[in-house]
């Protein structure tokens, strides 16, 4: 009997999930106050997405 769970995520979904989870972990580990945590999580998430999408576009000219 196989009970394997298989997910099919797109590149963007995988990046969003990864960025969100890591941002939450870093926010909780490095900040104490709830407001500070939320601000840090949002800021990290923004930077993850900005840099991820930025690197994606930077590679675009070399994709063909």
């Amino acid at each position: 009997m196989s009970a394997a769970i298989v997910f099919g995520l797109s590149h963007l979904q995988a990046m969003l999930l990864f960025a969100l989870v890591i941002s939450i972990a870093f926010g909780f580990l490095s900040r104490r106050q709830p407001i500070e945590r939320i601000k840090y999580i949002v800021w990290l998430l923004f930077l993850f997405l900005l840099i991820g999408v930025g690197i994606g576009w930077a590679m675009y000219p070399f994709s063909r």
Binding site: I5, V6, A14, F18, I24, A25, L29
Partner: protein
Amino acid sequence: MTDEIAAPPAPRADSRSEAFALGIAVAGWIVPGLGHALLKMWGRALACFLTVGLLVFFGAGMRGNVFTSSGNDAFDTLGYLADLGAGSFYFVARSLESNGPDVSRADGDYGTRFLAAAGVLNLLAALHAYEAARGRKA
């Protein structure tokens, strides 16, 4: 002047607290979040458990490569060390991935990174708990 002479070190208490901090770190490595839970840092404990658990769950679900000790090269060994960082969740990943890895698709490749990130994140959390137990971090 006399204060400098009259301040003897307390090696017994230091070694005890060091052993306690090491125990916290090992507990945090074996079960993600347990180190912080033992220090009554409930929010951080829950966050570590859930984030490492989610990365392992999705990484295994995306059929990422769960490295074993029988790797062929240095990258396999590094991947194995990173995966081992997840502690007991390494075995959860192996049990979840009953169909084996499939890195021929992008999903599987992402899954491999998710699993390695889970391990490294858990090691970071265990190190944080260790420092907190030593009184260096709030």
